[in-house]
């Protein structure tokens, strides 16, 4: 009984909010370009579905490609840094400086460098930039997370540096790597959307472009419909990754 109530609670809240919104629009007679009622948004979403779904896929595929590239680069660099403490000290400040610089601020530069002929590459590059750091720092932390007594056993049995990395530190880092991938995937979507905004008109036709285009035409219902699709996509990706992480952890722990 309680579980049914728990599951229904968010749906009920959403319905209540939508009903309040609809009622407010009808009672106040606010113009639709300013705030369209949810019924109009739903109509816009339904009629625009053939445009919105491919647009969502554009954004999602950019984010996924960026995630794969970022994961590869982050893992390789983390391993190098894990092998050499000196390299880590050298890389750390640079890495954090890049990390705290907002992607919007870097976007114009990247667009000049790679985006003039291939705007989609610039969008991928920007998404890689934001997805890289959680994976990198997660893996670096993970590589140092092995049980100190297990490290002592590796000392005792005279393990080589390579054996220590491959048989102890890398497997010990797996849960951290999975957490980093989960966070990185979420950021890759955000990065892709921000980059699409920065790229501006027409080069890359993802969800952000849909929002921009509708905004320029003052089609507020289309803007909100695109936002809703974006939110639904984000929630779905997050839930999927959460499950994947759970399954991965069960496999890693054997339970």
């Amino acid at each position: 009984m309680n579980r049914v109530v728990d599951a229904l609670a968010p749906a009920v809240l959403i319905l209540l909010l939508l009903a309040g919104w609809e009622a407010a629009c009808r009672l106040t007679g606010v113009p639709a370009y300013f705030l369209p009622p949810p019924s109009k948004v739903m109509l816009a979403a339904a009629s625009g579905l053939t445009v919105l779904v491919p647009a969502a896929w554009n954004t999602l595929s950019v984010a996924l490609v960026a995630l794969v590239l970022a994961a590869g680069a982050a893992l390789a660099l983390a391993l190098l840094v894990g092998l050499s403490p000196l390299l880590e000290r050298a890389v750390r400040p640079l890495a954090s400086a890049l990390q705290v610089t907002p992607v919007v601020a870097v976007a114009p530069l990247i667009l000049i460098w790679v985006g003039i002929d291939h705007p989609e590459r610039a969008v991928i590059a920007l998404a890689v930039l934001v997805a890289f750091f959680p994976i990198f720092s997660g893996t670096v932390t993970g590589l140092r997370s092995a049980d100190p007594d297990l490290e002592r056993l590796f000392d005792l049995y005279g393990a080589s540096r390579l054996q220590r990395v491959l048989r102890l530190r890398l497997p010990a880092a797996v849960p951290f790597l999975m957490e980093g991938l989960k966070v990185g995937a979420g950021l890759a979507i955000i990065g892709a959307v921000v980059a699409e905004f920065a790229a501006g008109s027409g080069g890359v036709r993802g969800l952000a472009w849909q929002i921009l285009d509708a905004g320029n035409k003052l089609q507020t219902d289309r803007m909100i419909a695109a936002l809703v699709v974006l939110a639904v996509m984000g929630v779905a990706v997050h839930a999927g990754l959460e499950r994947l992480e759970g399954a991965g952890l069960r496999w890693w722990r054997g339970r």
Binding site: L153, L156, Y157
Partner: protein, 249 residues
């Protein structure tokens, strides 16, 4: 016979914490079972790591007659890698030393059988009970056929019944290959039951408060805990512990 390992006037200082151990001299003869007993923080685990060659002494000398791969350590926690099966964990020391995988796995299965874990090789550590995980840890220590076996409070996290059974099992396993065993404990009865010689350390930084020999057959005969020699040894160790604590307090 030359000693298996020895500490000569060693001292260990830790940065920021001051002296942790010593001055301390201790000789471990081949095949003997020595218990290191002392209050928390007296440096007994440090002494164990010195004997194992895992840590250098700040001053003094550490002599080890055992080569690489002839020393094994069992820690307070089972310290098994969660991502590997029990058999892979036990085979690890051999594989790190370059033993071919099939042979390492065969010897791991044999070692698991010796500690009473035949058939659980494919289980992951998370699927084993505390006692079983400790046995797997013991199997990993024995798989290299060490000449020096270090046990760092190995049964501290286990219930009384399990630790008594494991104590007998360790003694029987010892009688098969007779490695020198050094084990750290703060349990007086456990020390008197398992060791032929009990070295009592003072409150930290640990020095030797005294030594008690237990002249009785090893492995222990049934009902040994009711023997006068057991009770006397335990009493003597308790007395030394109390004296060692007062000396500094």
């Amino acid at each position: 016979m030359s000693p298996t390992a020895a500490l000569q006037e060693v001292e260990v200082d830790y940065q920021g914490r001051g002296r942790a151990l010593g001055p301390l001299s201790l000789t471990i003869e081949a095949g003997e079972i020595v218990a290191l007993v002392g209050p928390s923080g007296c440096g007994k685990s440090t002494a164990l790591r010195l004997l194992a060659g895992l840590e250098p002494a700040t001053r003094g000398q550490v002599h080890r007659a055992v080569g690489r791969g002839e020393t094994s350590v069992v820690f307070q926690a089972p310290t098994l890698a969660p991502w590997m099966s029990a058999a892979a964990n036990v085979a690890l020391p051999l594989e790190l030393a370059g033993t071919p995988r099939p042979e390492a796995r065969a010897r791991a299965a044999e070692a698991l059988a010796r500690v009473g874990l035949a058939g659980v090789g494919e289980s992951r550590p998370a699927q084993l009970s505390g006692g079983m995980a400790m046995r797997a840890s013991l199997a990993r220590a024995l798989v290299t056929r060490p000449r020096l076996l270090m046990l760092d409070e190995p049964f501290a996290a286990l219930d009384e019944i399990t630790r008594r059974t494991l104590a007998d099992d360790v003694l029987h396993l010892w009688s098969e290959t007779r490695p020198a065993i050094v084990f750290v404990t703060h349990n007086v009865e456990e020390a008197a039951y398992m060791a032929s010689r009990i070295v009592v350390l003072t409150r930290g930084p640990g020095r030797i408060a005294g030594e008690v020999r237990v002249d009785a057959p090893l492995p222990r005969p049934p009902g040994f805990r009711a023997w006068p020699v057991f009770a006397e040894a335990a009493e003597a160790v308790s007395g030394l512990l109390a004296a060692g604590s007062e000396a500094v307090a």
